[in-house]
Every structure is written in structure tokens, then in C-alpha cells.
């Protein structure tokens, strides 16, 4: 979306978030940005107007200038962290779960990062099983939902391949790599709502659905998302 004229087409809030995100990413990579460098390298599309946005951020106390370089303040860092978190979670959703090409996922994530509410972000994060990394391999800043759950160990949604043998889960989503697998799995009873028990992971993954044992390739198990059930 480099030549799309981001600054003209989007709200001022979204532009501010883009700059915060850019500064976070730069900091993560160990670099600092001057206003000029920011205006030239920002992934949302270089342009003249970014200096103005940076100025606004300084006025709001989210960014300060140190030796001509832009640095996130504590408040700014908190906000930047949330934007980055939303962006990377959205990438996981679009790329890994919904199987969109990387470029499209990236573009969709750029839009979604500005509109997700905190509640929706937590829901997406839980749905995805609190993923630690984005598809590019960069860390996803954890949210409250992640730490709350890490104490309870289990997550709201996980992949079949992430269960421990003996654990059960109710299928919420079947998203195999190959479309034909979806029908084949459905014929064998692996459909949303079905309860799966992981019997073993090695030497091959074996699951029980109803009273049928199925041996699956790990790749297929990666595409089966379920809500872990606690044995009662």
C-alpha cells in the first residue's frame, strides 16, 4: 500500500498508530529513527505528511525527541505495543488460519490493527491459542488474556497437535491445507462440535473421534483447532 496515499485516506488516529508501530518495529530491530528517516521508510507509504503526525505524537506525550531521533515514551510504548499486537495477531489469523497469501494477510492486518477493540483482540488471541510469534517469526507482545491463561496452562483454542496425549477437545474449526481433506475428515466425523481425544503423538499422531481411531499426519493435525475439554 505504498503509493495508496495512506495519510489522505485514513483517519488521523490510524496515521498516529502507524507511526507508533513503525517506531516499535525499529526499536525491536535495534535502530532509532529521525523524522526524515521515518518519513522515508514507513511501511504504510513514505510521504511528506509524516512529520506532521510525528509532531502530533510529541504533543500528545507519546513520543519524545532525543538528539533529533524519535523515542517512544512509556505511554507511547504501551500504545505501540497494542498496535503491534493487533497487527501480528491479525497476520496469524489471515495467513495461518484462513490461508490467505502473505501479501494479502499483511494488507488486511494493516487495516484490522486500527479497528479491533481490546475485547475483540483478546478474543482473537484466545481463538488463535495465544500464539507467541507472527508468521514472519517476530514476537507477538502478550496481552492480559495470555498471562491470565499461562497460569492455567491451557488456552481457549489450540491446535490438535498441541494437545497432550490423553487430553480431549471439542473441534471449533477444521482448516486443512488441502480442500479435499475437509470432506474426508467430515466423513470420518471430524467436524466442528465433535469431541476428539489425542491418543498419542509419536511415532504418528493418533486421535479418537467417537469410537474411531484415526492416524493423521502432523500437518493435518495442525489444521484442526479445538477447545480443550477438562475431564470431569
Amino acid at each position: 500500500m505504498s503509493e495508496a496515499g495512506f495519510l489522505e485516506s485514513r483517519s488521523p488516529g490510524a496515521a498516529r498508530e502507524e507511526v507508533l508501530e513503525e517506531l516499535w518495529t525499529a526499536h525491536e530491530g535495534g535502530t532509532r529513527l529521525t523524522v526524515e528517516a521515518l518519513a522515508q521508510t514507513i511501511h504504510a507509504g513514505p510521504g511528506e505528511g509524516w512529520g506532521q503526525v510525528a509532531q502530533e505524537l510529541v504533543e500528545r506525550g507519546l513520543v519524545r525527541l532525543a538528539d533529533g531521533e524519535l523515542v517512544l515514551t512509556q505511554t507511547g510504548e504501551r500504545e505501540a505495543r497494542e498496535v503491534v499486537r493487533r497487527h501480528r495477531l491479525a497476520e496469524v489469523l489471515f495467513h495461518e488460519v484462513l490461508d490467505l497469501p502473505m501479501d494479502d494477510s499483511e494488507a488486511e492486518a494493516c487495516r484490522l490493527e486500527h479497528v479491533l477493540t481490546p475485547g475483540a483482540t483478546a478474543a482473537v488471541c484466545s481463538f488463535l491459542g495465544h500464539p507467541p510469534l507472527c508468521p514472519h517469526g517476530r514476537p507477538i507482545p502478550p496481552g492480559d488474556c495470555c498471562s491470565a491463561l499461562s497460569r492455567r496452562v491451557s488456552s481457549l483454542i489450540c491446535r490438535l497437535a498441541d494437545l497432550v496425549p490423553g487430553e480431549k477437545g471439542r473441534v471449533v474449526l477444521v482448516a486443512p491445507h488441502h480442500r479435499e481433506r475437509l470432506d474426508q475428515l467430515a466423513d470420518l466425523g471430524v467436524i466442528p462440535g465433535a469431541v476428539l481425544t489425542l491418543r498419542q503423538r509419536k511415532p504418528s499422531l493418533v486421535v479418537e473421534v467417537d469410537h474411531t481411531l484415526l492416524a493423521l499426519e502432523d500437518e493435518i493435525a495442525q489444521g484442526i483447532y479445538l477447545r480443550p475439554l477438562v475431564e470431569t
Binding site: H177, H178, R179, E180, R181, L182, D183, Q184, L185, A186, D187, L188, G189, I191, P192, G193, R199, Q200, K202, P203, S204, V206, D210, H211, T212, L213, L214, A215, L216, E217, E219, I220
Partner: protein
């Protein structure tokens, strides 16, 4: 394998045929056997009943024809087996469907029932494997299910012959099941549109067929082009695209979900689980046999028992009994005496009872040496199949097979190849992609010794230091993995991922295994015996015409120079082109005569093991993979086998190995 031993069907009975339909591994074949009392393949491994088996059910009123369809989970096929089952249903529109189901897996049973109902098929429902369901605390209210479905529901345990007597009594009550699935309104409208295009004579089946077409069933392609009017295929495709837009998911997924919802509703009324899984001994065994650690000793135990049964009992005890006893003392002397009396010309006598005689060599070899080995192997294989061990073995070896571009499913043809490579090459059909089928065909031809050959090879290796067996095994296994690894990377196309149903461990029924072994042995003899005769005739002609020494001289640089073998070994390689076990037997004779030392034996056996198995296997390779592919494989295998042998010879000599 042609096993359609239909009784005389010339007089077609007046009553409509009965079609056995059901999920895989639910005991369909046992019920078929009980109804017809004729032979049928019963097996645990998905894919072994691809052949359609027909019989006449004398126990049913009107003695109708009975057809056993391959196991299927859905009428929108995902495999060849399922396609055959669906095609049978379409080809026999008047047949009464006898649906066989696994009681404990009622969900999958009713999922199929729903589809049969949409095709407007009259049916009965047999809830089989009541014993296994009881062990798991599963209770199905058969009478309530019958009331709701409106078709006869018959609980049964076929292996104990319990409940089956109700089938003849209730056959006439067959009806279309009432199991309506409510599809989204857009789907219903599309179904009406498509069904309206289908010929009226299809009657009630039109709804089901319209659903299949909308599900995007590509296997219906040809049928659809014939059944639909001009432009019909295009309309179906447009409707599919519209549905996808309207529903946000594929039509097939929406249809499957609606069916599952209807089934789940019914299950709530009739299906109860009273206690959690108890964990019987059979379950424990099943778990151990695919445990990452315990699975290995289980496999070792299975291999040991296999060796004791096939190698020691079959190739040792039985062969001695038949070869020395029956052939050595009875048949061959009698045949020789008869020939001497009846045939005045010496060359014609030799044709039958000479050193390359049809009776003294071909028959003796086929029946006395090979048959006991193959027969015991088929018994073993039947036990492995029916016990449910093979899919568990597939689970164990999946990761190893991945390296060769295959997955665990390929273990069935590979193991079967240890019995007979020809039969195994035929079963490569169960593999989903062409690449996998080609890979397995190549590996079978290259380095999986069949039981006949294995028997001879092991007997020979047994006469030398254990290191000989290790070297031979290492060379063959290493070559298999190496070639498999390289071929998987060089060959275009893709493998498939692994999705396999693992049936419960079951105690095999002896009678079932015996009939199966008899049918397989019969098939083997029909295939192999003519080739034994052909091979013997070839040798006979070469011998009589004095060609053998000339060929030996021609091959000397290769056999003597590169492989370091005596010139007579050429004979063995020559017949090895016909059958490699035949070739191995040639080495066996040389070894017994003291003409091969340890190193020479190992080299010779390695080369002959890597040869193309036999002419029959070559024919099947051509039939299954096409002439060009088969020839390319042979053009690779033969020089490659010699190259490996030459290298082995060079290494062993360089290291001054003595065996």
C-alpha cells in the same frame, strides 16, 4: 485378484439384488459370507476389498444375488474404493440396500443412511459388532431407532452368527429411511434446479444426485455429462459458485454439516454411553503395537514369529516334507517311469523329466519349494490383516516412509511384496497419488524380495557367518532407502499426507483366514505356474541348442570380472530375468556344490535380490504403470543391480572380508 466366484448366475433371479453397503471394517464381508456361504475377502486394512464380490444368497427369500460393495464413509467418494461403492449403487437402482454398521460408531453409520435416504434407496440397517459396543458401554435403542427411521433395524454380532437370522425375515420390509436433513434455503433451491435437469426415470434418486453434483463430486463427471442435458454441467457449476458466495463456505461443507446436524439430533434420542472406556486386553495390545517404544519390541516379536512360521516351518519343515517326500519319493519317480514307458524319444522325455524338465524342475520347484513358503506367508498375512496390526504398523513406520516420499499407507503393498511382488504391485492402487504408486512399484521391483525368493536366500545365508546376512540385509535396505530417497526428490508430482483409520484389534477368525489363503494361493498358482513352465522351457531350449555356454562366455567379463563370480553363475542371472527366486535357487545349487565362497554368495544374492522380481511382475508393472514407465524402471534396475554388486565385491575384496 479375480475372486468373483459367483454361482451360476445365468438364470437371473426374479427378486431384486441385495447390495451390502457400509463403512470400512464393520464386518460386512462376514455377513456376506454368512448370507451366501461362498468365499469373500475380509480384511481390516482399508482398501483390501476393492474387488466387488458377488454371490447368491440362498438363505434369503427368492435367493437374490448379493453384491458386497467396498467399505465407504460417504457417497461422495474420496478414494477408489468409495467410488466403486457409489458406482455400484447407481448401477443397481433396483437393489435393496443392506446397510451394515458398527454399532459403537452409529454417527458414521447414520451419516451414510442419510445419504442413502436422499437417493431414495430402500434399505435395512444391521447394527453389527454389538459385542464390541457392549464392551465399551455403548447402548443403542434399536426399536426406537427403527421407529424413527422407519426401516428394519437389526442388532447383530456377525462373527458369533447372532442376530443374522432376522435378515431373511425382514428383507421384504425394506423401506426408504426417514432421516431428513434440512439444508439452507439456497441449497434447497439449487437442488430443485439441478434435480429438475435430471432424467425423470431416476425418480427419487434425483435429489441425492443433485446434492452429489452440487458437492462438486468430480468422479461423477462422465455420468453427469450423459445424464444432464446440454449446458447442464455449466449450470451446476454456476449454482456451486453462487452457493459458495451465499454461504461463505463450499456447498460440500454446508451439505455435510446439515447431514451431521440431522444425525446428531437422532443420536441424542437413541445412543447412550453408560461407562467410560474400560481398556480391555485387546485395547492395550492395540496401544502397545503403535507405542513409540513398545511398538518396536512388538514389531520384533511379529517379525520373529513370521520368521519362525514362514522361514522355519514353511521353507524348512514343509518344503522338506513336500520336496523330499512327495516329489522326491512319489511324483518324480512315477513321472520318470511313466515317461520312460510312454515316450520313445530321449529329448522329449527330458522335456518332462530331465534336468530342465517340466515335471522335475518346473512343477517340483513351483509346488514343492515355493508353494509351502507362499502358502504360509499368505496365512500370516491374513492374520496380520484381520487382527488390525497392519494399520498400526503403518503408524509406526510413517516417519521412516516420509523420507522416501511415501507415507505409512505404503506399508501394505511393501509388506505384501514380501509375499508376492506381483500381487503387491496390484495393491499400489490404494495409494492416493501417482507419484506414490510409481515409487512403490519401483521399490517393490528393486528390492523387496518375495517370500519365494526370501526362502531360498535365507536358506543360503544360513549356511554362512551371520555377518553375511547382515551385509546382504544392509545392502538391500540401504539401496531401498537410498533409491527411495533420491527418486522421491527427482520425481515430479507430490506425495500425500497420511490419514488412516485404525480399526480395533480383533481376534482373526480361522475359517476366514483359511478361505482367504486358499483364494490367494489359487491365484498365485494360476499366475506363477505357467511362468515356471515357460522359464524351464527356455532353459531347456538354451541347453539343448547349446546356447548356454555361448551366453556364459558373452557375460563373462561382467559376471566373472566385475562381480567375481564363476561363469556358471550366468545361468542363474539368465533365469533371474524370468523369476528372481529362480535365479536365487541357481545360486543355492552352486553354493551347495561348493562353487561359491561366502563373499561370492553375498554378492550374488545382493544382485539377484535387486533384480526385477519376475516376468509376471513386469507384466503387472506395464499394466499398472504403463509401458514407458515400466521399461524405464527395468532399464534402471538391471544395470543398477550389477553396479551395486560390483561395488560390493570390490569393497569386500579390498577389506579382505571372509565369510
Amino acid at each position: 485378484m479375480d475372486m468373483s466366484r459367483a454361482p451360476d448366475l445365468a438364470a437371473r433371479p426374479a427378486s431384486p439384488p441385495v447390495l451390502l453397503v457400509g463403512n470400512p471394517n464393520v464386518g460386512k464381508s462376514v455377513i456376506f459370507g454368512a448370507l451366501t456361504r461362498t468365499y469373500v475377502t475380509v480384511a481390516n486394512y482399508p482398501g483390501t476389498t476393492v474387488e466387488i464380490i458377488r454371490g447368491r444368497a440362498l438363505s434369503l427369500p427368492g435367493a437374490p444375488e448379493v453384491v458386497d460393495a467396498p467399505g465407504t464413509n460417504s457417497l461422495t467418494p474420496q478414494s477408489d474404493d468409495e467410488r466403486v461403492a457409489r458406482d455400484l449403487l447407481l448401477a443397481e437402482p433396483d437393489a435393496v440396500v443392506l446397510q451394515i454398521g458398527d454399532t459403537k460408531n452409529l454417527r458414521r453409520v447414520l451419516y451414510l443412511t442419510a445419504q442413502l435416504a436422499e437417493l431414495g434407496r430402500r434399505q435395512l440397517l444391521v447394527l453389527n459388532l454389538q459385542d464390541e459396543a457392549r464392551d465399551l458401554g455403548v447402548r443403542v435403542e434399536a426399536s426406537e431407532l427403527e421407529r424413527r427411521l422407519g426401516v428394519p433395524v437389526i442388532p447383530a454380532t456377525a462373527t458369533r452368527n447372532a442376530g443374522l437370522d432376522a435378515i431373511p425375515r425382514r428383507l421384504s420390509q425394506a423401506a426408504v429411511a426417514q432421516l431428513e436433513c434440512s439444508y439452507p434455503a439456497v441449497v434447497e433451491r439449487a437442488v430443485l434446479d439441478v434435480a429438475g435437469l435430471l432424467p425423470a426415470e431416476l425418480g427419487a434418486a434425483r435429489r441425492g444426485l443433485a446434492l452429489m453434483l452440487l458437492s462438486g463430486d468430480r468422479t461423477l463427471g462422465e455420468w453427469a455429462r450423459e445424464a444432464l442435458p446440454e449446458g447442464g454441467v455449466g449450470l451446476v457449476e454456476r449454482r456451486q459458485a453462487e452457493l459458495k458466495r451465499a454461504l461463505g463456505i463450499g456447498a460440500a461443507t454446508a451439505i455435510a454439516r446439515a447431514r451431521h446436524r440431522a444425525v446428531a439430533e437422532l443420536l441424542r434420542q437413541v445412543f447412550h454411553v453408560q461407562k467410560a472406556r474400560g481398556g480391555t486386553l485387546r485395547d492395550r495390545l492395540g496401544e502397545l503395537s503403535m507405542h513409540p517404544i513398545w511398538g518396536v519390541p512388538v514389531l520384533a516379536a511379529v517379525l520373529f514369529l513370521a520368521y519362525e512360521f514362514v522361514g522355519v516351518f514353511g521353507a524348512g519343515t514343509l518344503v522338506r516334507l513336500v520336496e523330499d517326500g512327495l516329489f522326491g519319493k512319489v511324483i518324480n519317480p512315477a513321472a520318470t517311469a511313466l515317461a520312460n514307458k510312454l515316450v520313445p524319444w530321449a529329448w522329449l522325455r527330458d522335456l518332462f523329466v530331465g534336468p530342465y524338465g517340466v515335471v522335475t524342475m518346473a512343477l517340483t520347484y513351483a509346488i514343492a519349494i515355493v508353494l509351502p513358503v507362499v502358502g504360509t506367508f499368505f496365512i500370516l498375512f491374513g492374520v496380520l490383516e484381520d487382527s488390525g496390526y497392519l494399520p498400526r504398523l503403518a503408524v509406526m513406520v510413517n516417519r521412516i516412509f516420509r523420507g522416501m516420499g511415501l507415507n505409512g499407507k505404503a506399508v501394505l503393498p511393501m509388506i505384501l511384496g514380501l509375499g508376492c511382488d506381483t500381487m503387491a504391485t496390484l495393491t499400489t492402487r490404494i495409494l492416493p497419488t501417482r507419484k506414490e504408486r510409481v515409487l512403490v512399484t519401483l521399490l517393490l521391483a528393486l528390492g523387496v524380495p518375495c517370500s519365494a525368493q526370501l526362502g531360498v536366500v535365507l536358506a543360503m545365508l544360513g549356511s554362512m557367518a551371520p555377518a553375511g546376512t547382515l551385509i546382504w540385509g544392509g545392502v538391500v535396505a540401504g539401496t531401498l532407502f537410498g533409491v527411495g530417497w533420491a527418486a522421491a526428490r527427482l520425481m515430479p508430482g507430490k506425495g500425500s499426507d497420511f490419514l488412516l483409520e485404525v480399526p480395533p484389534v480383533r481376534v482373526p477368525s480361522l475359517s476366514n483366514i483359511l478361505v482367504k489363503t486358499v483364494a490367494r494361493t489359487e491365484w498365485y498358482l494360476k499366475e506363477a505356474l505357467p511362468l515356471f513352465v515357460l522359464g524351464t522351457l527356455l532353459l531347456f531350449v538354451l541347453d539343448v541348442s547349446g546356447m548356454l555356454p555361448r551366453l556364459e562366455a558373452l557375460a563373462a567379463p561382467l559376471v566373472v570380472g566385475l562381480l567375481g563370480l564363476p561363469a556358471q553363475a550366468t545361468d542363474a542371472f539368465l533365469v533371474g530375468f524370468l523369476r528372481r527366486d529362480y535365479g536365487a535357487a541357481g545360486f543355492f545349487v552352486l553354493r551347495r556344490g561348493g562353487q561359491l565362497d561366502g563373499v561370492q554368495s553375498v554378492v550374488a544374492l545382493s544382485v539377484i535380490t535387486l533384480f526385477v522380481p519376475c516376468i509376471a511382475n513386469l507384466f503387472v508393472m506395464i499394466k499398472e504403470r504403463g509401458f514407458k514407465t515400466a521399461m524405464a524402471m527395468v532399464a534402471f534396475i538391471v544395470p543398477f543391480a550389477f553396479a551395486v554388486g560390483a561395488l560390493l565385491n570390490w569393497v569386500l575384496r579390498a577389506l579382505r572380508v571372509h565369510l
